[in-house]
Subunit: 207 residues, 3 copies
């Protein structure tokens, strides 16, 4: 029950980030809901399709979509009067990233994939929804750009910690909590300390 | 037989809209066919993948792809001499949207999903091909933008009508026809009356 | 064993083209690896999803992802000191296109699809990764644009040759080699001779 409620909170947080991105592009209300849905369920959907899991998690349970649509509409209503609470949202987003990444890695593990692939599937669960959001709003995905503080990198580090702890014999629950704590901590430290990955920069045109 | 022919007409109409979008970006002939195929089968393909239906409808029956390629080439030939018949195309597109949306919802129903998910799957069948077309031609999807008259909203309303009629006991064929008539009517009324959804607009940069 | 090694070489070549595209957009190191992975496995992944093959080839075998990450990092290191070897890369890319396209068509054949669909699946295997790379870096896919020499067209021609040779009774291995030679030859001839498909060009705005 608690994991399910946490899952819905994570979905709602990502839906809010999608609705805000839609608002920055002046989309209509349907566009807001579509971008919110895609942001919130895109990563998990891609994971389920690539692992051939059926049914896709949100197809089987309409509560996800209803929570997302509610969160998107609440975002529209809230921002008519108030500024979005940027700092609270950054913390909530770091928690959502941690939750989705470790849960996605666990689902991949249960499907019997090799550890490297579990890291990829977990990171994808946490980040692909935001990438699709950025593609649909005609931007290069934020997490690939050089002006973004560590994001997917934090997910990769935390999932790796989770897998290593499990490999040396730590039970699943404390391993997962450690991985999530590492992701949240790394992401928030990266924002506070302005930590970024090195950039790879070539001249735009071929010589 | 009549549903199959209607299906091919719907596919051809969406292929024409894809070919015209490709022409507006000055793509080459292969680009025209690719965009036409993606526009015409993208929504149904996404639906089939998400419902884990196999084989995908156009993979099993090559007639779809051949009709699309023919419609795309006919569009290229026609527009060398004449203007595209914009009004006829808008009416044909509204009919295609109605057909695909209700048919997509029926397929989702038959796969046993909850009603809310059937609405999403039907709307996706009618609209996702156009969204992929817009992403490939580097535009924010038309149906999410605030300058577009009701489009996906018409699909949602008509599919909902179809489901409600079925729920109160109306047989499937008249329910489906009523849903399709509602979608076509709403979409054409929206174009004539310039009906749009409210916009959600935030400043583009974070404060 | 030789096909597997060739497959890894093809994957590495496409990873290099992805890494260079990421560098031209000044992405960070994670962005470089993500674009490299997507470019190298995107086409085969889409093919496997559409044919409902499970597991996806790279999910079952982590060597693919490790080779891609290695090729991407080697590209970053190499271009700090030297120019990318453009001509060598164009030849390698033509070979990769040939290999992936014919191998993709063979996999589709083995799944029992009609010949037209095998052509599409093979061409998609060779080209869809590059299309996703271009979408993620916010460009209209290179292979759809009018300034690109024959690319997907070469794949279509070579796959068709492969299928026709098989249909008239030539064994599979020489048919496949002939198809691959045709693709490589056509692509390189197109670059040398500046061969392009005709353009379809409409005014950008509706009248």
């Amino acid at each position: 029950m608690i994991p399910y409620l946490l899952d819905l909170v994570g979905v709602a947080v990502f839906a809010i980030s999608g609705a805000l991105a839609a608002g920055r592009k002046s989309l209509d209300l349907l566009g807001v809901v579509v971008i919110a849905v895609v942001t919130a369920v895109g990563g998990g959907t891609l994971r389920d399709v690539l692992l051939d899991r059926s049914p896709i998690f949100w197809v089987a349970d309409p509560v996800y979509v209803l929570v997302i649509a509610g969160a998107a509409m609440a975002t529209v209503a809230w921002t008519r009067r108030f500024h979005p609470p940027e700092k609270t949202l950054l913390i909530a987003d770091a928690l959502g990233l941690a939750l989705f990444s470790v849960a996605g890695a666990q689902i991949a593990q249960d499907a019997g994939v090799p550890p490297v692939i579990a890291v990829i599937m977990g990171t994808m669960t946490g980040t692909a929804g935001g990438m699709i959001r950025d593609v649909l709003t005609n931007e290069i995905p934020l997490i690939l750009r050089s002006d973004t503080e560590l994001y997917a990198t934090a997910a990769i580090a935390g999932i790796t910690l989770y897998l290593v702890l499990g490999w040396i014999g730590v039970p699943r629950a404390p391993s997962a909590l450690s991985g999530m704590a590492a992701i949240t901590g790394l992401r928030l430290a990266a924002i506070l300390g302005n930590l970024k990955l090195p950039v790879f920069s070539l001249p735009p045109e071929k010589p």
